[in-house]
């Protein structure tokens, strides 16, 4: 088994393009079994009771509007599925325990900690990551505001904060500082960029309310 695996891997490891990487992970790194070729799904009875795993099972995710078919163990988190298998790395893994917000994604437009969502539980929902909001290289007004107010230093918490802010501004188009305190407390920064973030949120609120361009 191991040898066979190696052979496949070596073939896959030939190129270095992103496409190859994706192919490499989708097919091999995630466990040597081709999707659809024969998965860990056991008996039909269990399948009807909705039991899947513990081995890899096909999992279909809808990420930024695209359908992604993966083969995953049920224990794999949404964050790890996207980062390790799909090379969607804007969301960061930091605390890995649903405390710091660096992994914030939207599920059906609501911000969640992707480190604490099982990928299999995200099936049937729309998953949106930071990548969605700068498609075509254009910056979302929140991203622009983060740049203008220097609401970032090392930048590692930034994508999560941007995602939290995008969702926050949907709920609070005209936010107060108290709203920020109550609803944006789920993200942590180590460099100390909160002063800039407070200002960025206010600027973005203005831009977005005056119809500033948004591909949200």
């Amino acid at each position: 088994m191991k040898d066979k695996k190696k052979k496949v891997r070596n073939q896959e490891a030939g190129g270095v393009s992103r496409r190859d990487f994706l192919r490499g992970t989708g097919v091999v790194v995630s466990g040597a079994i081709l999707v659809g070729e024969g998965t860990a799904l056991a008996s039909p009875q269990e399948a009807s009771a909705g039991i899947r795993g513990p081995g890899e099972v096909p999992v279909t995710l809808r990420v930024n509007g695209e359908t992604k078919r993966l083969s995953l163990e049920p224990r794999v988190t949404l964050l790890d599925a996207l980062r390790d298998r799909l090379d969607i790395t804007g969301s960061k893994r930091v605390c890995d325990r649903g405390t710091c917000g660096a992994c914030t994604m939207l599920i059906d437009d609501k911000p969640v900690y992707a480190c604490t969502v099982l990928a299999i539980e995200a099936e049937g929902h729309d998953v949106t990551t930071i990548e969605h909001f700068s498609k075509g290289g254009q910056l979302h007004p929140v991203m622009r505001a983060f740049v203008d107010h220097d609401a970032q230093q090392c930048g590692f918490c930034t994508p999560g904060f941007v995602m939290a802010c995008i969702a926050f501004l949907k709920a609070h188009p005209n936010p107060t500082q108290d709203d920020i305190k109550k609803d944006l407390g789920g993200n942590l920064c180590r460099c100390g960029t909160y002063a800039g973030i407070r200002e960025a949120v206010m600027q973005a609120a203005k831009t977005m309310s005056t119809g500033g361009s948004s591909n949200a």
Binding site: M1, K5, R9, N10, E12, A13, G14, V16, F21, G24, T25, V28, V29, G31, A32, E73, D80, D84, D87, T89, G90, K92, V94, C95, R97, T99, C100, S134, L139, H140, M143, F146, V147, D148, D150, A151, Q152, Q153, C154, G155, F156, C157, T158, P159, V162, I180, K181, K182, L184, G185, N187, L188, C189, R190, C191, G192, T193, Y194, A195, R198
Partner: protein
Amino acid sequence: MPECKYDWPAAADRHLIGTRISRVDGPAKSSGRAKYTLDINLPGMLFGKMVTCPYAHAKVTSVDTSAAEKMPGVRAVQVIQGPGKEIQWAGDEVVQVVADTEEQAEDAVRAVKVQYEQLPFLVNEAELSKAQSADRAAKPSATTQGDPEKVFNDPDMVVSDGEYGIPVIVHCCLEPHGHVVQWTGPQNIRSYSSSQGVSVYPAQFAEALNIPASNVQTICNYIGGGFGSKFSIDRWGVSTAQLAKQTGKPVKYLLQRSHEVEVAGCRPSGFARIKVAAKKDGTLMAWESDCWGTGGPAPSRGLELPYVLRDIPNYVSRFTSVGANIGPARAWRAPNHPQQALLTMSALDDLAAKLNMDPVEFFSKNADLAPQNLGKVYREELQKAAELAEWSKYWHPRGDKTPGHIKRGLGVSIHTWGGRGHASNCQLTIEPDGSVTAELGSQDLGTGTRTVIAIVAADTLGLPVEGVTVRIGDSHYPYDGPSGGSTTVGGVSSSTRRAAVDARDQLFAAVAPAIGVTADQLVAVGGRIQAKGDSSKSLTWKQACQKLGMKKIQTHGKNPGPCPNLISSGVGGAQIADVSVDTETGMIKVNRMTAAQDCGLIIDLKTAESQVYGALIMGIGYALFEEKIMDNVTGRMLNPNMEFYKLAGIGDIGELKVHMMTGPGYDERGVVGLGEPPVISPGAAISNAVANALGVRVPSLPLSPDKVLAAIQKGGMA
């Protein structure tokens, strides 16, 4: 006019330097496009995970990796510390495994069986007597000057004494330490490393792997926080490279959060009994301190007290290093200074209170005891900070006498730092098509290095910031120093200035005939090369570069180098904290933090201010919340997560006011580093503000409700 051709342009001639420029890599970061080490995925890449020791002090007696090796997806297992090895802290690395997926690697970690012989340990050092009886305290070192004892015995002196402390805290970089290592040939590696020193990592890898340093390439385009903890490839860097070789695959290994906070960065602690004396007019006369602290099992270099006001005529300062099994010390933003500031400024603030003196006045009066002639700077900064903090309106003598359980107080502290630019090399290229690149083997920790390089080059060449492409974060670029000690901006701005001036002058020489004046009559301004005082004789930047024909201009600027006044060393800084304390609950709310900070000539005011804002916030965190909590029973860190290792959040910080000292008296000092100094004072300023509010000192950080309530009870004001 500059005296030397590389000097900074006169204030009127700077079109970018000193203005507010958005960081050039801001869009990449805010859009999530910036790729950090954690984000590097390579074809066929394997994932590493670590077996760590659960005991604070133990000897490895046996390691059995056989079950792990047979597990699905596992490609290699390496024993890092085998039988016989003595382990000095919980979380230390024992066995590393690599597998196809993270989950498989983690399963394999669970399957490794390690047996230990547990040994006696010490993990808490706040009580020195316990460390002494455990034989963990070194012989105290002492420095003395004058005759402090005589001063303390002088009945005309006002003497204050107290106990103060600041615990071990951790770096908690959001991006953990680690690497992705790939062998690109039998003797060649490329490492993607979360690094504060891309130019110094290759030598470390080379030595450990016994390959030529020139065969090692280290890349770090973005780093998710370092704060002084990422200067070494570390043991996991070596083993990750070895496992990559063994498996013939790239291997990714970054620490998991618990491991990161347990072992990858601890700031040494400081505790002290301090006695100080001053004349009734507030003139500081004598100091005596008995200080101790730990930075892990190895002896620590010790805290130097008193801090800033070092020239107290009579002092004796003793330090005892305590060896504790808490993980190894690493430099933490302004190493030792926050501890020294907390201990010194608290003791001096208590003395000022005893003198019935306004502490701003007290520090101003004694400011000339600071080295490097910073006395004047401190007085100006104290005045500025006091003005912005509305000191005269809100400050009161010790103990807020207004009714109710919310007590408000203000506190002040001052600090110092060196910050001379490090060795730096900038290679600047002007292509005939007008494109400009600056290449340096430096890195941007979020401090704005890229932006500063772009500004200096663009300002020199008369271009907009976007006219310069900055390439850093790769050891294949010219050598640059590691980013520590606030030395980067000084280093890169000075090397870039020299490279850019030389390149500009070569361009002048090439285009002078076409413009019809001599090269020394040309200026580069507004995207044009033109005759001084005659804009009719000019070429656009692009036209000018076209005159180069096939030949590009390539220059090399070096720091240190000619015109040494481009940079200097030594800054001050004054901060004031304004807090409210709930005396029923011991909870502290920061109303406002004010900072007045100098750093010589500022290249980018926007990112410079960000450094100070960030430092104030980080300071609020360690003043109120942060502590590496070590368990006396199990020897383990009890809060190796971000849930109980508490970082300040967006609602915890209050209002922040930052004033950068610029203009005459500051600019001519050249560029001085800034990253570290503003994080030194917040702990002391906040502690002093709490003392001002309550009328009693909460002796040690963090100022958690248990300690605040205990101090209130002790002070009898509940």
